[in-house]
């Protein structure tokens, strides 16, 4: 998701791709690689973990690494994969997209990892995509994103727009009102998301009364609040795709201006348990967020996940949706490898992955042949304990639609990698 800029991503990549000397850059700070689990036997499977451990994105990505390490540790304790222990090679993408591409090359060429778990922002994913495609390697990507992509070298375990944004808009239309004000950070994810929302509102009898974008990281949101007051004098729905620090300023200002959740309920797509802690629950109580998983999901798998995480990292930690997606993608990889009987032949691993199911903390999920997961959609209300009270959840897992059906450019397209004739983008009708 987030920070994604298709154009910027591809420009950065062009710069990298045209320079063969960066390939396999062995000098790229080997000190940064640390073996998370060491096995004395040497009989290990190497996997790569590629996230930002420093820089602005470290805030979010570090906890995703924690979740991945937890899954790897659990698998190793249960006997590993195909009888071998998993050895994680952790690389720091430094919140810098060319570094992501460079580290991806290093993991594939030098460490010869079986697969890579990594990335958070769409920009970093777009930056590593050509690396994984040209070397025909495999990336698992754990974050909800704007869709409009379906690479045969990536498995997307976060939500596609139809598994987060679209159901939440439907829910708001039904329960909270028809008039929407859209607020977002100024880059591709919120803009794409809002394009989808506007099309959806137009199709379903809602109304977009205004939309505004705040530069990433900006904390001056006063004029947005003013516009919301003007456009919705008697209350209405705020759809919030702001990211990072702007959220804090936005909710503080919202409260100070007297726009409470009773008249101005807001739906956020980038606020999870960790962000609630960071923003302060006093400002957020009563507002809504849409995700596939909340820590409060009541199921044995969820309880087990939360307890295992707290036991390993401390009882003050919380888990959130991207962490859950990161946790399950390690297990999905393990299951696919075991079904395929090999971790080296990626074609076999990929084929084995289609139709894999897993009792995830959010419920039973399935990997589809379009490389996205069928997931449950949930809407949570922030309660006074900083956790989400789940007010809506789908009975069944929602099938993923990577190519958006509200946007004219991609309407009628779908993705199916199990059929060589169809591939990443084919016309359904």
């Amino acid at each position: 998701m987030i920070l994604g800029s298709t154009a910027a991503g591809s420009i950065l990549l062009k710069a990298c791709g045209s320079d063969p000397s960066t390939t396999a850059s062995p000098g790229a700070s080997p000190a940064a690689s640390t073996a998370a689990s060491t096995s004395a036997s040497g009989n290990t499977v190497k996997v790569g973990i590629l996230h930002s451990l420093s820089g602005t994105m470290a805030i979010s990505e570090k906890s995703v690494v924690d979740a991945e390490n937890l899954a790897i540790e659990e698998i190793n304790q249960a006997g590993g994969v195909l009888g071998k222990q998993i050895e994680a090679i952790i690389e720091d993408g430094n919140s810098d997209w060319p570094t992501f591409a460079e580290k991806a090359k290093k993991l594939i060429d030098q460490d010869k990892v079986a697969t890579v778990f990594g990335c958070w922002t769409s920009a970093s994913r777009k930056a590593v995509l050509p690396v994984f495609e040209s070397k025909n390697s495999l990336l698992w990507y754990p974050v909800q994103y704007e869709g409009q992509e379906c690479s045969k070298n990536v498995f997307y375990t976060g939500a596609a727009p139809n598994q987060q944004i679209e159901p939440s808009v439907d829910w708001l239309l039904e329960n909270k009102g028809k008039e929407f004000f859209l607020v977002g950070s100024d880059y591709v994810f919120p803009r794409t998301a809002n394009t989808i929302i506007k099309a959806q509102l137009a199709a379903k009898g809602g109304k977009t009364v205004g939309e505004d974008y705040v530069p990433l990281g900006s904390t001056e949101v006063k004029s947005v609040i003013q516009k919301i007051k003007q456009a919705l004098p008697n209350g209405g729905v705020i759809y919030n795709s702001l990211n990072g620090d702007s959220n804090v300023a936005f909710f503080k200002e919202l409260q100070a201006s007297g726009l409470g959740p009773d008249k101005y309920p807001s739906m956020s797509v980038s606020i999870a348990e960790e962000e609630v802690k960071a923003i302060g629950v006093d400002y957020l109580q009563g507002h809504y967020a849409a995700w596939n998983y909340f820590q409060t999901v009541n199921s044995p798998a969820s309880t087990k996940f939360v307890e295992a995480f707290k036991a390993k990292y401390g009882s003050d930690r919380v888990v959130n949706d991207p962490m859950e997606a990161a946790y399950i993608m390690v297990y999905l990889w393990k299951q696919s490898v075991e079904k395929a009987g090999t971790y080296e032949d990626l074609e076999k691993v990929k084929t084995a992955a289609y139709g894999q199911t897993f009792d995830a903390p959010q419920g039973k999920i399935t990997m589809n042949s379009n490389h996205h997961l069928s997931k449950f959609v949930r809407i949570g209300e922030v309660g006074e304990d900083s956790l989400f009270k789940i007010v809506y959840e789908t009975k069944e897992a929602v099938k993923p639609v990577p190519w958006n059906q509200f946007v004219t450019d991609t309407k009628g397209f779908a993705c199916d990698w199990s059929d060589p004739a169809k591939g990443g983008k084919y016309k359904t009708t």
């Binding site: 470290a58 900006s218 003013q226 516009k227 007051k229 804090v248 100070a256 960071a278 923003i279």
Partner: protein, 384 residues
């Protein structure tokens, strides 16, 4: 209409006062001393983190209701001391060399950002021990008369020796008192400063609501401006600061201790940055990048206002704040509604991102006509 107008005036002043508070310290450091302090934003960040720590320390005690005042004092003292160390340790060697100052302070800003991400008792112990050993040894050896000749040898031996001793001690203590000693103080995550109850919410007036936090910042800004004016104009040290600003050499000749004045001025500017950091923590969250959001805006204010004049900074901050607000909200669009093309133009610029673009364009245009800013320095003293 009345409530819209009131809101507009209030919001403009409020945006301007945040800018002014953030820029006030820089107006002194950059304006009066000519030091391009890229670490100004990070000093604000330190102030914000101090606020966070005071808040945590007072949670649950009866003082919590007024913790913000204690935090203001603490933030001022912490950042002023830090500024003093920075001036004594780095900047005083670089006076008159703006390019080196720029690079050095930028380096300091990066160090500070990483520091709050990775600071723990272990790190503090290592750094403190290193300083103690190294500077202690230096202090002892420096009294020998042949020190200058042996300086190279001394450095070559003492730096690795002190570092090794400090790191070893740090690691041993780290393993002995494991979680508590190595636990990060803040982490890379943003932390949350929650305003006390009486600062949350707003003051309802004529159908609109003025946020208490904003009113608090406006009052604080006024207090700071008045305080700085009083200090500069009515105290002996203020007189000396003004004298050094106008003509450093002449002041030195007349017996003013210019080095002390420099240190004091820089500490004052840093302390004001700390106050600003405390104030902005009420608006947004506190994180390692907090300062970076403000650094460009603060320089803009000082440059537009005219380097060396506080009055210029005040007017510039209010003007930029109000312009940002008027363009970014729909106010101008509504006002010019009868003239269609004009209102369409304003509608195009009426998002926060685009408002910034237009304000920058206006500033560039303005500086074409008045390169010295609103109140340029007059006379031959400019490059003193």
């Amino acid at each position: 209409m009345l409530s819209g107008l009131l809101d507009g005036i209030f919001s403009g002043i409020s945006l301007g006062s945040v800018l002014l508070l953030a820029a006030l310290g820089l107006a002194i450091v950059f304006g009066l001393m000519g030091v391009i302090n890229m670490a100004h934003g990070e000093l604000m960040m330190l102030g914000a983190y101090t606020t966070y720590m005071v808040q945590n320390a007072l949670k649950g005690t009866p003082l919590f209701g007024i913790y913000i005042f204690i935090a203001l004092i603490a933030a001022f003292i912490v950042t002023a001391i830090f500024g003093l160390v920075l001036e004594r340790g780095v900047i005083r060697y670089l006076y008159g060399r703006p390019l080196e100052t720029l690079l050095a302070t930028w380096g300091v800003s990066l160090i500070l950002q990483q520091l709050v991400r990775s600071v723990s008792w272990q790190l503090v112990t290592i750094v403190a021990l290193f300083c103690l050993l190294f500077f202690g040894a230096m202090w002892i050896v420096a009294r020998r008369t042949d020190f200058e000749r042996a300086r190279g040898w001394f450095l070559a031996i003492m730096i690795p020796l002190s570092a090794a001793a400090a790191i070893a001690t740090g690691n041993v203590l780290g393993t002995l008192y494991k979680p508590a000693f190595t636990k990060l103080w803040f982490d890379a995550r943003n932390v949350d400063v929650t305003a006390p109850k009486w600062l949350r919410g707003g003051f309802p007036i004529a159908g609109t609501q003025f946020s208490y936090a904003r009113i608090f910042i406006i009052v604080l800004t006024i207090a700071c401006v008045v305080g700085v004016y009083w200090f500069l104009n009515n105290t002996p040290w203020g007189l000396r600061i003004r004298a050094v600003t106008q003509n450093r050499t002449m002041s030195a000749c007349l017996g003013i201790p210019t080095k002390k004045v420099d240190a004091l001025t820089f500490a004052l500017g840093s302390g004001l940055a700390g106050l600003a950091g405390c104030a902005v923590s009420l608006l947004g969250s506190v994180g390692p990048n907090t300062g970076q959001n403000y650094i460009v805006d603060t320089f803009m204010v000082v440059v537009v206002g005219g380097v060396g004049k506080l009055a210029g900074s005040i007017i510039a901050a209010l003007a930029i704040g109000t312009a940002n607000y008027l363009i970014g909200s729909n106010t101008l669009v509504d006002l010019t509604a009868p003239i269609k093309p004009l209102s369409d133009t304003f509608a195009f610029f009426s998002t926060i991102s685009m408002a910034k673009v237009l304000v920058f364009a206006l500033i560039i245009a303005f500086l074409q006509f008045r390169p010295g800013g609103l109140f340029p320095q007059k006379g031959r003293t400019v490059d003193a």
